[in-house]
């Protein structure tokens, strides 16, 4: 160390043994904070969020993106290849696939968000009840075990078989199929939280159950539920597409991605684009939600990564 680096007033006495500074063997890392740092740490949130935002804009403002009436039939112009006139071609009834795909985003996102929202709410209620009441727990968990033994797509198919195809019924069927998963998650969180010293102390000091739930339990369940909700949203969008694809989902008149693919199915070997355009949109949307969920999970709580 040279003398010029020293603070003023310090003299090195002659003969003093001074250590030579150690070299750097790793280049220094600059810790980043703020939004940039967050996005660098969780790039999946940035990518997923952006893609999802684009899809949302497409869904909400579909009429502004040079679309035509997605249900307008034009038998004379059916099965046209993609062109400057019909960007994604036309289907076997002459409907514009581009317009149908864009409007399809509405159905997919509506179903995804609704299922995520409703199954979280109901699952939260059931999970809380089950976590706090032993009797309710033994009954509820038996039923949940039974429901979870039926593969969720089959459960949704069975429920759809009971009703007429409509967007509301699809949402209801998928929600019912997803409730057991959320309930189990909430119940698990409640049970582990109840053993925390501060919750036990609150119970011991006679705090009413309701205020324990609102003060200690709910805030701690929100993070895992938010993450779970994104994964449910993604799963619901796929399930909706599958239901429509096999003819047990939304009525064919509604342009959902599953329906467009179902209609393109018969012709897919000769006119593959009818199937592929909605497939690409569906995949990108689900990917966006999944990336967002992954990022949220890592950002909120790394330990959660093992539970979900």
């Amino acid at each position: 160390m040279s003398a010029s680096n020293l603070p003023s007033g310090i003299q090195i006495p002659p003969g003093l043994a001074v250590a030579t500074p150690q070299p750097d063997i790793l280049s220094n890392v600059k810790p980043r904070r703020g939004v940039i740092g967050f996005l660098r740490r969780y790039p999946t949130i940035a990518i997923g969020g952006t893609l999802l935002l684009i899809m949302l804009i497409i869904a909400v403002f579909a009429p502004l993106f040079w679309t035509v009436d997605p249900t307008a039939l034009a038998p004379a112009r059916r099965t046209r290849e993609p062109s400057a006139m019909y960007w994604f071609g036309t289907d076997m009834l002459g409907r514009d696939v581009y317009s149908r795909v864009l409007y399809g985003a509405r159905v997919s996102l509506l179903v995804g968000f609704s299922v995520a929202f409703f199954s979280s709410i109901v699952g939260l209620a059931i999970g809380l009840l089950s976590g706090f009441n032993r009797l309710a727990d033994s009954i509820i968990m038996r039923i949940m075990d039974g429901m979870m033994s039926i593969p969720s797509i089959l459960l949704a198919i069975a429920l759809m078989a009971l009703t007429r195809g409509s967007v509301q019924n699809v949402i209801l069927a998928i929600t019912i199929a997803e409730i057991p998963r959320v309930s189990r998650l909430v119940r698990g969180v409640v049970l582990s939280l109840r053993e925390q010293p501060y919750v036990e102390a609150a119970v011991a000091s006679g705090t009413p159950t309701i205020s324990i739930i609102f003060k200690h339990i709910l805030p701690n369940t929100l993070a895992p539920i938010t993450v779970q909700a994104t994964f449910i949203c993604a799963a619901a969008m796929i399930t909706e597409a599958i239901l429509s694809f096999i003819g047990a989902g939304t009525p064919p008149i509604i342009p959902s991605w599953g329906n467009i693919m179902a209609e393109g199915r018969a012709l897919w070997q000769v006119k593959p684009y009818i199937v592929f355009f909605p497939a690409i949109f569906l995949s990108i949307t689900v990917l966006a939600v999944n990336l967002l969920g992954d990022g949220l999970r890592d950002a909120i709580d790394p330990r959660l990564a093992k539970k979900l």
């Binding site: 039974g146 039926i150 069975a158 078989a161 599958i242 497939a279 569906l282 990917l287 990564a305 093992k306």
Partner: protein
């Protein structure tokens, strides 16, 4: 050990009872009157009433549930409204393709996913790891029928390496059978591979940070031995658990995959039954699939003792 197995089998009975109750209620709540359907358009209300009585449809809910359960236990799953064949016969006719598809997919998925997850955990943070993780997210996100169509388009239509669709029974030879199953199995396996690879990676990462892995390294063990001898067995319980849980997705996916590849299996049977509102068939298939799912998870539970000597029953 045997006591545990028996206890565990008994514990599945209430679960199956709930499933049965649900499936039965499905028929009970189904719109339309089976008696009227069977009686046909020409029937008088008296005819319908007589058929209703002969079918036992006029009895109370729980009595009907009891009778129905009794029938199921004797192997009688009812009769299809559409074909008039016993549901059990229809299932028998369709089970081979579905079973083949699932077994091939299971083997394919496990043999691909576990090494993938292991390598990703070993090379954590590298490009290899990132590729595996990216594949896993893609696997979750691209629906099975999309993968199916892309594969069929590329390998069957464009390259003409494999048949586009259909099924050849295994009695016609292994290779023709396999030829038809490869594409559906890969399509169906996508999600499953993603799921297993991801859990394998997470579980391995957990294990690789344990002290005993450091001990193994300090002994001079080579990387493959550390990964597959010391770590994988410790990481196995979460992996087999997810294989069991993921089986549900496999069943759901099979329904769709069989539609895409025109495989005449139980999935197709389900889809056809839904389109025709053939409730006894829907019931039978759901019951069978749920039973298979419960059985697989029972086996998974019992397999834990193979991996961890600390688990004793």
């Amino acid at each position: 050990m045997w006591a545990y197995i028996i206890r565990r089998i008994l514990a599945t009975i209430p679960v199956m009872a709930i499933v049965a109750l649900f499936v039965f209620s499905l028929l009970y709540l189904s719109p339309g009157d089976p008696a009227a359907v069977i009686a046909g358009d020409q029937a008088t209300p008296d005819d319908v009433e007589r058929i209703r009585a002969s079918l036992g449809l006029d009895r109370p809910y729980l009595v009907r549930f009891g009778a129905w359960t009794w029938d199921i236990l004797r192997g009688d799953l009812g009769t299809s409204i559409f074909t008039n064949l016993p549901v059990s016969t229809m299932i028998q006719q369709r089970i081979e393709p579905t079973l083949s598809l699932m077994i091939v997919t299971l083997i394919l998925a496990v043999t691909i996913a576990i090494p993938m997850g292991v390598v990703a955990a070993w090379k954590q943070g590298t490009t290899i790891d990132r590729c595996v993780m990216a594949f896993a997210v893609l696997g979750f996100s691209v629906p099975v029928f999309v993968v199916g169509y892309v594969l069929a388009y590329v390998f069957a239509l464009e390259l003409d390496w494999l048949p586009v669709q259909g099924y050849t029974p295994i009695s016609n030879g292994f290779f023709p059978w396999m030829e038809n199953l490869i594409l559906p199995a890969v399509a169906l396996g996508g999600v499953y591979i993603a799921l297993i690879a991801r859990i394998t990676r997470a579980s391995m990462l957990e294990v690789l940070s344990q002290d005993y892995v450091r001990t193994a390294r300090a002994k001079g063990a080579a990387q493959p031995s550390i990964l597959f001898v010391h770590a994988l067995k410790n990481a196995a319980v979460p992996i087999v658990t997810i294989i069991g849980i993921g089986f549900a997705g496999l069943i759901g996916g099979a329904v769709v995959t069989e539609s895409v590849f025109a495989i005449p299996g139980l999935g197709r049977l389900t889809v056809d039954a839904i389109l025709r509102r053939d409730y006894p068939v829907i019931q039978g298939v759901i019951l069978l699939f749920s039973f298979a799912y419960v059985l697989v998870n029972l086996l998974v539970d019992l397999s834990y003792t193979l991996f961890d000597p600390r688990i004793r029953y």
